[in-house]
């Protein structure tokens, strides 16, 4: 209960921080939409994330827990069994189910100033991994490709986006922001062209 309240509080702080950290020009643009609209967008995102995590936890509780000193076979079985369960439970999942269209717009809006100027150039250089070659196809519910390294997510990006429970992580695949379920190694949802 306290944890839920704390998380709600932290998310509220994040919403405020997100809007406060926007540069003036962007902030003015953002203010064309009422702050309440952004708050409602983020609240909806949080609600959907919470529902995903509740499902994740429920399904994960039906398979053997991973020991802290596990074997590769245990790790592999756990990851793939959990992925299968989530994929089956969300068999009709599609892009935008977790990150709604409004939230996608807000994510791009929030990230835009972070990727400006010299700071932004450094950020892009760190995120856009030269080791990712060829076409990477993103698919909701699909397994994160084994051959594709995970991007770094700079701390400055993480503090600008709503906090996530540990069952989900933000990652980038090129300019696309994905929600990765690291326990199941599957992509829960994504935002195309999250930054330019």
């Amino acid at each position: 209960m306290i944890e839920t309240m704390l998380r709600t509080f932290l998310r509220s702080v994040t919403i405020g921080a997100v809007l406060l950290t926007l540069p003036l020009g962007t902030r003015a643009a953002a203010q064309k939409a009422p702050v309440n609209a952004h708050a409602a967008t983020i609240a909806e995102f949080v609600k959907r994330v919470d529902a995903y995590v509740a499902l994740h936890r429920k399904l994960e509780s039906t398979i053997p827990a991973l020991p802290k000193q596990g074997t590769p076979a245990q790790i592999d079985a756990h990851q793939r069994d959990l992925a299968r369960l989530i994929q089956a439970a969300r068999k009709n999942a599609k892009p935008g189910d977790l990150i709604t269209r409004e939230m996608q717009v807000l994510v791009r809006l929030v990230l835009r100033p972070i990727f400006l100027g010299e700071d932004g150039r450094q950020m892009k250089a760190e995120i856009l991994d030269k080791e990712i070659t060829g076409n990477v196809k993103l698919a909701v519910n699909g397994r994160y490709p084994d051959e594709v390294p995970l991007s770094i997510v700079p701390p400055q990006v993480l503090t600008s986006l709503p906090k996530l429970p540990e069952e989900l992580e933000y990652r980038f695949v090129r300019q696309n922001l994905i929600l990765l379920d690291p326990h199941a190694h599957i992509i829960a949802d994504y935002v195309e062209r999250a930054f330019k």
């Binding site: 590769p72 790790i75 760190e126 030269k130 991007s151 770094i152 997510v153 700079p154 400055q156 190694h185």
Partner: protein, 307 residues
Amino acid sequence: MMRILRVPSGIVACALAALVWCVSVDTARAVQQKPAAPAAPAASSQVALPNKPDTLHFAVIGDNGTGEQAEYEVGEQLLTWYNRFPFPIVLMMGDNIYGSDRPQDFVKKFEAPYKGLLDKGVKFYATLGNHDSREQRYYKYFNMDGKLYYSFKAPKEDVRFFVFESSYMDQPQAKWIEAELKASNEKWKIAYFHHPLYSSSMTHGSTVKLRQVLEPLLIQYNVSLVLSGHDHVYERLKPQNGIQYFVEGSSGELRNGDLRPGSRDTAVGYDTDRAFVLMEVDGDNLTFNAISRQGTVVDSGVIPRRK
């Protein structure tokens, strides 16, 4: 071709010490290209590992998990050196298992190359790289106990290792790092994680945005040594704000010639073959030898701890 840059010695090094604290190396000059027998005495230009029985010995490998021949050869070289310089622990800088990590991959890319060391009871302590599945934290031989970031006390000497997850430095981790560093009373604080805060490699280079968050904590809480991988070279950097940084990302992968020529930050670099590092903490000093796949010492020196 081996890339060697001369490092300051004697008076110059003392001058450096007056500014911060010095890396008292007088090494890394002409390094013999021919393989050196591990038992052979160190050349006069090299600093030999003291190899005392009661000091802390450890090895450092990074970006190793390819499952290819070169990784196996580094594994054999590690075992050869182990027989002369027994080290109870190996620190892994990440990219422990490249690509697929099915059970057979753990064997091919980790258990088989280091079988000799595992059989002798050597413990590996991993950090995760960008090529590693997050669930590797549950793998028994990586000793992460299911944690993405953790710390542990060394079996000898007054040393604590701090292991971070550098690809995802969120607020909870940053807070944990500060609390953990603050609570540590050990004389030696050694941090390691995959992405280097300083690197002269052309492929990735310094992780500047991460540095903005981590470096103030490392300085404030008196971390003496920071080890990373990610760039597939060996590089010892000149001390940065009083902290000694190493990049060791060439224990399996290699980017030949990737070090930027003439980088002001490089003390010594080696980017023409695979490598690993052996270290020994003896009181207030840490002696290191960086060793190539052929067994040649390509860099060595002594680092005093920050006080």
